[in-house]
Amino acid sequence: MMNSRVKHFLLHTALPPLIGLSGFVLLWSLVAHSNSSLPSPMQTWESALKLFSDPFYRNSPNDQGIGWNILFSLERVGTGFGMAAALGIPLGFLIGRFPFLDKMTAPIISLLRPVSPLAWLPIGLLVFKSANPAAIWVIFISSIWPLIINTAMGVRQLPQDYLNVARVLNLSEWKIFTTILFPATLPYLLTGVRLSIGTAWLVIVAAEMLTGGVGLGFWVWDEWNNLNVEHILIAIFVVGCIGLLLEQVLIWLAGRVRA
């Protein structure tokens, strides 16, 4: 006889996603069956096994293993995001703390934020005269807005009680920042980080398609030119899995901070 808790888990937690996934694979098989240009799930799986059996080979600058492509994309996202964080987070604190600065920057932020990050690529190419810094520049510009906006919002939502404590205790501006402002804003800041890394990961594939070199986006475009559709499908899954993983890690981190 099955333990009732195990049964409940299988029925309500494990079963629904399993049905969803197998339905998806079934639908994919049906479409692949009626359209010969789309590889079937089985073909894709076999191709993936071969691909991941040697992820770090290097034949030429344009023919490197999947592992290298993933690492290069992550590096670009990391660099672009890191620079955005270094500038955006302090800026967010300042904007949240000083209403004058808020009103000063509000029109620029509102105007530039809705612009598609890829529209910035030509500017990057023009200024940096090179593809890789231009791709990083696009990541930078797309991930800076959520950082600024969420940090500033966190600072603005600081309860008056805490500020009264700071005033009554006569804390210095630095002490206010380290013991009150920063810890109170941290959950908002982490939401900003999550949104901004999510956007950056969305944008990197598109940016690399345009700039070339090494990276998942470039690889997708390269395999399209080779008409290797299996690899394109694999790339889509890899991008999805890494995006999911990044998101989960950041959610876990935010949960640890709140607890």
Partner: protein, 264 residues
């Protein structure tokens, strides 16, 4: 009478979007060293505004406030404030919350060990040594309020300002903390100004009860001397006719002379 805190001819006007609002008018109050003063009145009578003026969180529109012969120009460590909703920082332990205050006042002159000793002593005073390493969300509402009191006392303030300190607590916890506050005040000889809307609390704890008229333009309606001998015991007082007479006087002021228009 030694004047320790002086409120001289204070007016307080707020400018809001709906226009100007006169909260306090012609407030004059002199508080002696070691005295326990309660500010009582209906909600909206400006009693918290008066406390915030003494704390230095607000500046008066007219008039002047003095503490130990010096003008109150802003908040200062010689005036410790206990807020209604404890206002502990949730990411710091009880010890760290108190240490923050201790550090600010004494770090310039004392060693780290002495600062820690002061923090421990403040927590011991409110019987919370066992909860020093706990975070505010891990302890009860009454305990949080005691940490707030410990934080205020740890700065060794000349005046302790309490803004409805027990308002958010249940009746039993409130009684328990009132008893503890009585002991602490007796022990530390503190000068205390407390905002309350609880008549029993005011009579039990105070030397004088400052009764405020209804706003707008609230002022001091009457001041009642509570000449009950100390230390006071709530059980003995329950059968004391003089206690009931004093209590009756406050109730009469609040519910007859200053009855709320809505209630009438």
């Amino acid at each position: 009478m030694q004047k320790f805190v002086q409120v001289e001819q204070v007016n307080m006007t707020f400018h809001t979007r709906q226009g100007t609002f006169v909260a306090l008018q012609d407030i004059n109050l002199r508080i002696a060293k070691g005295e326990f003063i309660s500010l009582i009145g209906h909600s909206g009578c400006g009693k918290s505004t008066l406390l915030n003026l003494i704390a230095g969180l607000l500046s008066p529109t007219d008039g002047v406030l003095l503490c130990a012969e010096r003008e109150i120009a802003g908040p200062g460590p010689e005036r410790g404030v206990v807020f209604q909703n404890h206002s502990l920082l949730p990411w710091l332990t009880c010890f760290q919350n108190v240490y923050l205050a201790v550090e600010r006042v004494f770090a310039a002159t004392e060693s780290k060990a002495q600062l820690r000793e002061r923090t421990d002593a403040a927590l011991a005073l409110v019987h919370l040594s066992h909860a020093a390493q706990k975070y505010p969300h891990e302890i009860s509402g009454g305990m949080k309020q005691r940490v707030g009191i410990a934080r205020a006392l740890s700065m060794q303030p000349k005046v302790l300002l309490l803004d409805e300190p027990f308002g958010a607590l249940d009746a039993l916890t409130r009684a328990h903390l009132q008893d503890e506050l009585m002991k602490i005040v007796a022990e530390t000889q503190s000068t205390v100004v407390m905002v309350t809307h609880d008549v029993d609390e005011a009579v039990l704890l105070s030397d004088r009860i400052v009764m405020m008229t209804n706003g707008p333009a609230a002022t001091i309606g009457d001041i009642l001397h509570v000449d009950l001998p100390k230390p006071r015991n709530r059980l003995t007082l329950a059968n004391d006719p003089h206690y009931h007479a004093l209590r009756g006087a406050v109730l009469e002021f609040l519910y007859q002379k200053q009855a709320h228009k809505e209630a009438a």
